[in-house]
Symmetry: C2
Subunit: 424 residues, 2 copies
């Protein structure tokens, strides 16, 4: 037995389960059962050693930060710096989405240096090398894709996004409907193009069992990608999105049956009032698998500020079932994020995750808020700073103001409500 | 007849109603009826000339930006700059909350220069002058308060926050319950202190008819302040908050009966799952008066980023009934905001307002999003920039990247999903 879910099904409590139960303050036997049922995953490759974190039902909402070089912007040191900053500000996972430079060397280094789980999208590497060789997407050899999955699994990747749900059937719903923004998933668009140009089924779907075999061997958690996710608010919850979700639901069952950990990715662009229904639909159709959402982005009109847009959607999503938030940075839709964007993105997502955890009463969120609320009423600035999501920023703003030495702040001065309220 | 609500009740359609109906794309007769019923207000003092904007049921969600000098930070030019920046980025209203310098000169200048409605909290000025004279809050003469309200009304203030609901009865609920953070409203704390130290009822409540007479004369819209709003998530929706709301509901009726426009202010700090219930409770108890919310802030743990926290709560609030969002800046709880904070605060609130308007299908929000979504699929960057909430920022990020001249961006390069999706 190689995987957490296999062991959980056999009643075995692993070292990783003990660590998670302790950190999340949950009963380890309950946790084991949730893992056996597939409602919680512990993404940790057998070849990657780091302090484990679990994702799923009843646990603290987790945050992922994407990084990686691109064709036009390829500075490896900068990507490593992004990784450090993301982890410093509380990312629970990072994904290396590099598409520029020597991808295997970059990935190896990131796996070595990361203190959190590492995810990838293997098709990016395959497509990047193909285009670098001057070839067309049509010429992509499915064997290269499976080879890449195996290489990355051996290297120690903890979770992989695989767009297995972009099938002839789900694509037919895309063609018979009218979308404003078509496909906005890189993996989804590549697969659609390959399928159309070759008149073939998606190999990641057709040969799903090969993927399961590889992932089982290394305990790689599959993150079933949403290649047909809506890329515009107007496209949200359309037939193509739901058709793909139906496929993903079946693939969740097959992964669990084979002893492979699996989670499901979700939208995308979506008006706020559709988020709750989407979370519930996904949980029902996919056997309550851990749900990994990209945003959701509740408006298309704020490029430059999509970290805020994503925090709005992410909070509501996490309240209604999302377990894992992929951060969105201020650079989204405009350019590759820089180090500052990564910080802003992680913090915005952590605010969303924490605000949802307050509602769901998980992960000690309420105690944390209570501590800072009490500090505020006590005008205990040091405790306020220390218990903030970004202590350095909170301290900086107060300390650089004219009231750095005083118990009140420059906003209210001696009209401070707390001081007047406590004066009697 | 002086006020919009008086005229509306008489069946008169004013020039201001015509302007609002045209800008909001609503039927003017429907609008008149909503104003007559008090579900919409047009805050515009008879002595202040500017392009009117209305607030309330079925209209685009509006945004207010607070500014003003403080005891410790008093640079009038900076406050004027904040006003300009707030209006440039889309604030529909500004409040002058100055508590430093010659307050009447500052307010007069702001009223002259503002192209949007101007609000104030008259008790700030009275208390500031009192403390400047070395006196105690206890010595505040209620006559000075009414005099200040009248002076500001004459000067042309369009709406005033008056904490009329902090009464002996509502305060008794505060005392019989346990709050983490007591009173966090400056006006509320000042009034409580004055009431306790003098053993008297709140003059703004006791002599409410005097306020109504002044406001009626100049068509000042009353904004009934929530002096007992929760200042910590743990205090949300407690008995003191609801007791005050009951009083405010009765005061709404009395204002409408007398022909005075009125809106109601709301929380405050509040976990996200309580927001919908609060909006519905307020609308029911206060005769569907326009609701002006401060945040709501869905966590206490993110000082330095409360504009994001407020945008999360504000979106959900506006979907469920809030009509007017008071911005929150990154400086909240730490110091007086600077010009950059004002920009960030206005944009975050506008994202919230617009995201809610998309759900509520008001103010042309869906057309706007559709335009930018289509531009995105067309890789029409210029249209994307122009239709963004902050066109300068969107343009800057793309143009400063290595792909400034290309149709794709540095994030995806030639793996651009849209390009691959459209390649067939």
């Amino acid at each position: 037995m190689n995987t957490q879910i296999e062991k959980a099904k056999e009643g075995i409590i692993t070292a990783e389960m003990h660590i998670v139960a302790k950190n999340e303050k949950v009963e380890v036997e309950w946790l084991r059962n949730e893992i056996a049922l597939g409602r919680i995953v512990i993404p940790k490759n057998k070849n990657h050693d780091f302090p484990v974190i679990a994702i799923g039902n009843g646990l603290r909402t987790k945050v992922n930060a994407n990084m990686g070089t691109s064709e036009k912007h390829c500075h490896f040191d900068e990507e490593l710096e992004k990784m450090k900053v993301a982890i410093h500000y509380g990312a629970d996972a990072i994904m290396d989405l590099s598409t520029g430079g020597d991808l295997h060397i970059i990935l190896q280094r990131i796996i070595q240096e990361s203190s959190v789980m590492v995810g990838t999208v293997p098709i990016y590497g395959v497509a990047t090398r193909l285009l670098a060789e001057g070839k067309e997407i049509k010429e992509l050899d499915p064997e290269d894709l499976f080879r890449e999955i195996e290489i990355q699994a051996k290297m120690g990747v903890d979770f992989m996004t695989l767009h297995c749900g972009v099938t002839k059937v789900s694509l037919s719903f895309l063609e018979n409907d009218s979308r404003v923004c078509g496909i906005v998933s890189r993996g989804g668009a590549l697969l659609k193009r390959w399928m159309k140009e070759n008149g073939k089924e998606n190999p990641l779907y057709e040969q799903y069992d090969r993927i399961l075999d590889i992932c089982k061997q290394y305990d790689v958690t599959i993150s079933l990608g949403d290649g047909l996710r809506p890329g515009a608010g107007a496209d949200a919850t359309d037939r193509a999105q739901v058709a793909e979700l139906l496929v993903l639901g079946e693939l969740v069952d097959r992964a669990r049956d084979k002893g492979v950990q699996v989670m499901v990715e979700g939208p995308g662009h979506m008006p706020l009032d559709q988020i709750e229904a989407n979370m519930k639909l996904m949980k029902r159709l996919c056997g309550e698998a851990p749900f990994y959402v990209l945003g959701p982005l509740v408006t298309d009109s704020a490029p430059g500020y999509d970290h805020i847009v994503g925090a709005i959607g992410g909070t509501v999503a996490a309240i209604h079932g999302a377990d894992f938030l992929c951060y969105v940075t201020p650079a989204e839709h405009l350019c590759l994020p820089d180090v500052k964007d990564v910080k802003e993105g992680v913090i915005a997502s952590r605010i969303a995750a924490h605000s949802a955890d307050l509602v769901n009463n998980v992960g000690g969120a309420r105690d944390r808020d209570l501590t800072i609320s009490k500090a505020r009423y006590d005008l205990d600035w040091e405790s306020m700073f220390q218990n903030s999501i970004d202590p350095e920023m909170a301290r900086k703003r107060k300390m650089e103001s004219e009231s750095s030495e005083e118990d009140h702040c420059t906003m209210c001065g001696n009209l401070c409500a707390v001081k007047n309220d406590k004066s009697m």
